[in-house]
Amino acid sequence: MSRTLIEVTGVSKSYGGVVANNDISLSVKEGTITGLIGPNGSGKTTLFNSIVGYHPIDGGSIKFKDQEISELRVPQIARLGMLRTFQQTRIYSAMDCVHNMMISISHRETTFKEMFTKHPPEVREKAEHLLEFVGLYQKRKLISGDLSFGQQKLLEFAMALMNEPEVLLLDEPTAGINPTLINGLIDRLGRAATDFGITLFIIEHNMRVIMNMAEDIYCLAHGELLAQGTPDEIQNNQSVIDAYLGAH
């Protein structure tokens, strides 16, 4: 039995009168791929934001490796080894791809002195290898903002890998990507989990993707946890079908 990496207990978050998350509890186990699904506006991204420290939560507890992190801020949590990617895809758009990668190395142990040194050559090599891994090697010297949307998503994913996080929260990794590229991305996400040993927690609307990848799936609706289970259990859960999947 692998240990629990993220433990969310009774987390609530409201924006004014809108209750975005109400008493949500879930856990992500080390070395697994966990899915988070639900209709638009069901509070998935809010929950992600709460976990990575983007905003304070109204109540409940969030633990990462048994450490309470609900009071910590984004950069501190990132340095603990938990990263997220963004739904809107965020990269450093005026820098070239290699630089995007190089500045994404882990800042966990960066000393004050290291801030004022150059990156060692291994960092550039690693950046180039990871760019090759996501298929952007040829474009590595181009300004990243000039890449297509799908390529930017791949770059953002590679940047996250560069950081060597223990857990990676992906917010809709396949949104806006064409079907061929999606297959490649699924393959790479899987390899991130197996080859790099990164625990993945994924928000995804593409059911084909998430049902194939995740071992454990949580479904949110109207800010509440609706169901939890294996892909099979979720697909056959009547309340999930009613709220989200729709009847066939």
């Binding site: 990132a78 340095r79 997220r84 005026a94 820098m95 800042h107 290898h129 300004i143």
Partner: protein
């Protein structure tokens, strides 16, 4: 730090001009000194505005603060500053060459050191602001500083301070300050070229492109921002100290904290040359200074109108600046190319 062949050539010709320029054109020594000051202005403004994406309208604060700190210290070392300013002009003060130069050296170093403290204090307060709010907030700091100094009678108030006279010939005096400004510009350039080549440089670029993303990746954004401001504050403060001594008389509004002239020129020069590039600000400063001097010479009376029109044309038609325009036109010269090789192995096999 590495220099390409072209850069080496460029640096050498700048060095030759810096040393020989004032000797070849003795009538323009003051203008040449101001030119180097403009180069320092543009380079340091670009650290925040271009490299880090924080458009400050208040960088002139460090210039004025440095000017006053340097002046007050170099006088206080040998005289009581309150008596000195109260009798300014009426009492003959004599500084021996030793007193003059030691005072100047201590004053300039102190100006640099204090500016770091100021950058940290104001950085703490200002870096919660982003975009136009940061610009206005910093402008407020510079304006307020001018008013505070103006109300501070002991250091001359609105009447200003006459600085100790230079112990030497007028010609050596102007050459001395031109060289001092030139050395400052060269050190600033070398320092920034090095700084931009380190992780620190990449990190502030990341903050410019997407600060939330940089935070989410674990970069210590606040620390980087304050250090970046401090790096641009030090040369500015020293430039202020030199400029105060060069003009010989300082006062708060027109000389020390001129927000609408030098404060805006900093921004215009960087926009003209190209934001976020190493050579852009220098190119911008030189072009701007030449254009400005030409309009002051040949369009006297209309010089501000001409300068205003120049700025408008610049921001409407030429937003990326000279170097930015070149980068768009010849991307491959800046290394922005597609590599046809598919993989790291192919590259290694080829080399």
């Amino acid at each position: 730090m590495t220099f390409s062949k072209k850069e080496t050539l460029l640096c050498l010709s700048v060095l030759v001009f810096g040393v020989a320029g004032p000797l070849l054109f003795p009538n323009y020594t003051f203008q040449i000194a101001v030119l180097w000051m403009m180069v320092v202005f543009a380079q340091t403004w670009d650290t925040l505005g271009g490299q880090m994406g924080y458009n400050s309208l208040g960088n002139i604060f460090f210039f004025g603060a440095g000017m006053y700190i340097c002046s007050v210290i170099q006088i206080s070392l040998y005289y009581d500053i309150c008596t000195y300013t109260a009798h300014s002009g009426a009492v003959k003060v004599d500084f021996t060459p030793y007193q003059y130069f030691s005072g100047l050296a201590v004053g300039l170093l102190a100006a640099g050191a204090f500016s770091i403290v100021f950058a940290i204090i104001f950085g703490w307060a200002m870096f919660g602001l982003r975009g136009p709010y940061f610009a206005i907030g910093t402008l407020g700091v510079a304006l307020a500083a001018g008013e505070v100094i103006g109300a501070w009678d002991c250091i001359g108030g609105g009447g200003g301070i006459s600085l100790p006279p230079y112990p030497g010939e007028p010609d050596t005096r102007s050459y001395f300050f031109a060289i001092l400004m030139f050395i400052l510009a060269v050190i600033t350039f070398t320092f920034l070229k090095w700084l931009y080549s380190t992780r620190f440089g990449l990190a502030i670029n990341a903050i410019r492109d997407d600060e939330s993303k940089a935070e989410a990746m674990g970069i210590q954004t606040k620390l980087h921002k304050m250090l970046a401001w401090a790096s641009s504050a030090v040369p500015l403060a020293i430039a202020g100290g030199i400029f105060g001594n060069m003009t010989g008389f300082i006062e708060p509004l027109e000389v020390a904290f001129p927000t609408v002239t030098f404060g805006i020129f900093m921004v215009v020069m960087v926009l003209l040359g190209g934001k976020g590039t190493l050579w852009g600000p220098i190119l911008g400063a030189v072009t701007f200074h030449v254009v400005k001097e030409l309009t002051w010479t040949y369009l006297l009376g209309l010089q501000w109108v001409a300068l205003g029109a120049f700025i408008v044309i610049l921001v409407v038609f030429f937003q990326q600046g000279l170097v930015g325009w070149m980068q768009d036109k010849w991307p491959e010269r800046f290394g922005i190319t597609v590599d046809e090789r598919m993989s790291v192995e192919e590259k290694e096999a080829a080399s």
